[in-house]
Symmetry: C2
Subunit: 201 residues, 2 copies
């Protein structure tokens, strides 16, 4: 009998506004050995203590443009004058080795990944949107962080609300409640997705 035994890794794309808790959820799961974070490549300079290949792959601007042209990136974005992108090779090598990979990216990046028509990705890919329980609670969470002025704060709120409108594009919508419950439900998605029959080989 053909019992499923070896599986591909999962590419777990996670989005949500700042204040949704998405990065903490991924970090906790990664620390528990559930998955690794994708290592992005970027044109920004390394900061003190950052290691090439661990924190980022640091590349020059021409190198980054070459990667775009060669189709070597799953998604990329220009942020504050610097380029950031996800290397297909990094992700695919890990998926083939059965390693689950987190991609903590925004809605534009997630849409780029989702748009790929790729057999491996179709089997391995899922995306999760983490939502705050309400706009009021998001306001509280973001306000708690802050020393910015009122205008900057309102701009962040407006951007966050605009981003949240994209949750129906994602496979899963996790509406945040308590930290423990969020973790339980986030881990349940990983546990369930690892049993997808399409993941076995």
């Amino acid at each position: 009998m053909n019992v499923p035994q070896n599986r591909l890794g999962l590419l777990i794309v996670v989005s949500g506004p700042s204040g949704s808790g998405k990065t903490t959820l991924c970090r906790k799961a990664a620390d528990a050995g559930e998955a690794i974070f994708s290592v992005s490549c970027t044109t920004r300079a390394p900061r003190a203590g950052e290691v090439h290949g661990r924190d980022y792959f640091f590349v020059s601007e021409p190198e980054f443009q070459d990667k775009i042209k060669a189709g070597e990136l799953f998604e990329y974005a220009h942020v504050h004058g610097r380029w950031y992108g996800t290397l297909k090779s990094f992700v695919i090598d890990n998926l083939k080795r059965g390693v689950d990979v987190f991609l903590d990216i925004d809605v534009q990046g997630a849409a780029q990944v989702r748009a790929h028509d790729d057999e491996l990705l179709r089997r391995c890919h899922l995306d999760i949107f983490i939502l705050p329980p309400s706009v009021e609670e998001l306001r509280n969470r973001l306000a708690g962080r802050g020393t910015e002025d009122a205008a900057a704060f309102e701009l962040r709120m407006t951007n966050a609300i605009a981003e949240m409108e994209h949750w129906p594009e994602y496979d899963y919508a996790l509406v945040s409640s308590t930290r423990e419950e969020d973790e339980r439900r986030f881990r349940a998605i990983l546990t369930a997705e690892r049993m997808r029959s399409g993941l076995w080989r």
Copy 2:
């Protein structure tokens, strides 16, 4: 902001050979209030203590044939001279009310349900195949039950192995290990599927 709040129910089709533990998994989850069992309709006579509408909908042979012709059944089968089927109305009413429904059926029934091209079903349907860890373990589990003769036992094994070949058709393949781990993973699938963005309205 459009936060997901009300969801449709899930139609959770569960298959697996006898000895896989599938009925126990569903029963435990149902007892915990996670979902209800679909109430089938049948042409067999009620046994002592069985209640119409709770254990089965007991119907006559002509009534059953009328339901087939009218397309009122999601799936049906003829077993030991009696008809058994799943009422669309029972399932759909519950899905619309947000109630999750278990359908504990064999691979032929599951294939019939999967073949429906229905918008509601596409949003609410998932299927899970419960596999024993190995053929040897299945043999142990089935042998432990029994007072049947060797030929009948081997026929049951042959049928179980043939049924198991169908696991790749299912969304999820749960390979049984300990009872606790099986329950944890089965519940994880339910928890995760309830966060499917397509389930919200």
